[in-house]
Amino acid sequence: MNQAATTGDDLRELYREVILDHARSPRHFGPLPGATHSARGVNPLCGDKLRMYLLVDDDGRIADATFEGSGCAISVASASLLTETVIGMTTGEAQAYFAALVARLSGRNTEAAAAVELGKLRALEGVKEFPSRVKCATLAWHALNSALENDDQAATTE
């Protein structure tokens, strides 16, 4: 059967194979012993609850990242993709990436945002057609950002 015809191209864009794959088998899932930063992300509308853990080394580089919690396919896949993306970044790079992603998914693209290469996270761009789901896609990133901001120095020294 032609699924695109029955379920709609927008839905196929939203639930791309990479999203479904990460939702089914999230990477870096679980607590992170020795984490230097952590924050919760809660989306009360749909009950998504995530906790993001980061291990930032002395050079301000994210040495490891994990998450745990439960949520819809979009929020879990986004969190999983986040961990893959930010490991190895400096905290400053991760925050710039956060700002660019939020801007692009919520349709407020700027020159600075457009300059950031989204890589795998392009898979999330399908949410642009689903305004009620943008929060799901950015939840983990907001958690990442507050985890970094709660630390006085690490978020801004880069």
Binding site: M1, T6, T7, L11, C46, G47, K49, A73, F130
Partner: protein
Amino acid sequence: MPDDPPRETAHWRADFPVLQQDVNGKPLTYLDSAASAQQPAVTRPDLVADYQRRDHANVHRGVHTLSQRATEAYEGARDAVQRFINARSRSEVVYTSGTTEAINLVAQSFCRPRLAAGDRIVITHLEHHSNIVPWQIVCEQTGAELCVAPVNERGEVEPEALYELLDERVRLLAIAHVSNALGTVLPVADIVRVAHERDIPVLIDGAQAAPHLALDMQSIEADFYAFSGHKMFGPTGIGVLYARESLLDAMPPWKGGGDMILEVRFDGTTWNDLPFKFEAGTPNIAGAIGLGATIRYLEGIGMQRIAAYERDLLDYMTSRLSEIPGMRLIGTAEHKASVQSFLLDDIHPHDLGTILDQQGVAIRTGHHCAMPVMDLFGVPGTARASLAFYNTREDVDRLVIALHQARELFAA
């Protein structure tokens, strides 16, 4: 299979032009009436339009003609409410902004002056947040304790377990008539009888019952009964607190202002008669008139007929949903009304909601303002399809097709 739906359905549906539209390129299938029901486009006579175009003025205040007409329409709606719920007197019908305000009124005006440390309020595990939080607030204010009667795995309150809690410390029992998340219909008349044998007053949250069941205050014998206009095909911002006259008489006003007083003096103010003592300030006149018009519309169909039609439709929906592989029905009480919560495979309800919306199918997803119910079933939320008399088997069939498509999309 039950018989085909009665021919009137097509006629009822035609009264709701909102249902005749396409959403995302598909015919709208509105299965979210438990969150807010659609309103009939035209009620005859069109009381709201008459009031807005011809009769608007403030109520209870002017000797001039428009104020008298507005007052007549506003109070006429109160008579309609009294008739609709079979209250003994129109003094027992207090307009509120909705169920939430009605329950808060009882918590603050009836309970707060009567409660002390050691007293108890009893609710059940299946309540909506609006029948939990007002009691938590008044317990916090007074040192009283909130006790919760258990619910079984089908989503039923087991009467014996509830009755065990009803001892001499209990100052109020507050229960839903119909659970918004599970659809369970509670045997409220039996529960009230037992509570009254123990001198415990009872408040019933009727928000989900008013759109589906014929209500009779004199047969239920509740002390307080709260419901909302917008859940029963009327406007938002208007609701009703029914209360026994003797209780309202003994209760102090909750809000102060115009219209709720007889005389205001700096050495003492006296309260207006019932029900005006509880209606401070210029009320939601258009809302009340709209509620009255809706009630007249519903009376034209007949709540018994609506209840019978919906019973058939719910049976049909339950059996069609049960046929879907990976379906987990949440809330399988023996006595239910118009609501079915469910989970499909391990698809998150929010994803289901988006996929169904693309097929024009509107359902509610999430915790349904009943987080303790979700905890009870160990789920973060559910998908919920809720029915009204304007829904048809075709709506249910569209829901089922869309759910199959969701499974396809998420299949590994």
